[in-house]
């Protein structure tokens, strides 16, 4: 009320609107999984390789394409809904449509040594660090 632009009215006609706005902001603050980036990604780091895993339920290897440019891995694809005729929906919570995500890897990788596989709806991509990019041990010569 202290910030009200209508001090002479004795009440704030927009108080309820502001309360509704803050309520809506709270509801849509990203807690809902529907607003999360799809697909969700985990990254695992090894000595000279990196593994990117992603939850892609209902997606087959033909529905997804992987692209590698320098150290950026891009994951694109489509999720298709069930195509049955004469059905009535009771509940639709799964999301459909195209998706795309880009992941910046911690180092440059060898494009010839990439392995990707699907395992029960989880995509696993293993990438190896470029030979020329690996850290080298430098010998110090005694003077």
């Amino acid at each position: 009320m202290a910030l009200s632009e209508f001090p002479r009215l004795g009440f704030d006609p927009f108080l309820e609107l502001r309360r509704m706005q803050s309520e809506m902001n709270r509801v849509f603050s990203g807690l809902s999984p529907a607003f999360r980036d799809f697909p969700a990604i985990n990254i695992w780091l090894g000595d000279n390789s990196v593994v990117v895993t992603s939850e892609l339920p209902g997606v087959t290897s033909t529905d997804v394409t992987l692209n590698l440019q320098d150290d950026v891995l891009t994951l694109e694809g489509t999720r298709r809904p069930a195509e049955e005729q004469g059905i009535s929906w009771q509940r639709r919570e799964r999301t459909y449509g195209t998706f795309s995500r880009a992941v910046q890897l911690p180092f440059r990788v060898d494009p010839d040594k990439v392995q990707a596989r699907f395992n029960n709806g989880v995509l696993e991509v293993e990438l190896e660090r470029l030979e020329a990019d690996r850290p080298k041990k430098i010998e110090i010569r005694a003077a």
Partner: protein, 134 residues
């Protein structure tokens, strides 16, 4: 049926919160699509990371419960550096308003999606009633 189901969903988070689990793994509500055809009710539930032997489906009276245990997703010699999803189990119940023919229930797991076909019992099927003229 839609009413029955939405009432069930409201109850689920409460039951998972008030009962304690013996394991510390998180339990997720799998997102589900449910549709009805003339003869069947079909449930599609997303459970990525669950192998076919980790699925447990029960139908007690009219309460359908699906459970999935995902395999431990650890990579030996690797360190987790970025995390958007956690490994865990899936559990969800639905109350069905139709009578189901229990002997003909079909379940399969494809690419992390559970596909459940529940045939309606003979008595629950909609029949077309002919009007007699005259």
């Amino acid at each position: 049926m839609a009413q029955e189901v939405s009432r069930t969903e409201q109850r689920i988070p409460q039951t998972t919160e008030t009962t304690s689990r013996t394991t510390s793994r998180p339990v997720f509500l799998p997102p589900a699509d449910i549709y009805e055809t003339r003869d069947n009710i079909v449930v599609l539930a997303e459970m990525p990371g669950v192998a076919p032997d980790g699925v447990d489906i029960t139908l007690e009276r009219r309460v359908l419960t699906i459970r999935g245990r995902s395999a431990a997703n650890e990579h030996a010699g690797y360190q987790r550096v970025y995390n958007e999803y956690a490994d865990g189990d899936y559990e969800r119940s639905f109350t069905l308003s139709e009578n189901i023919d229990r002997d003909r229930i079909e379940a399969r797991l494809n690419d992390g999606v559970l596909h459940l076909v529940l045939p309606k019992a003979e008595t629950a099927r909609a029949r077309k009633i002919e009007l007699k003229t005259g």
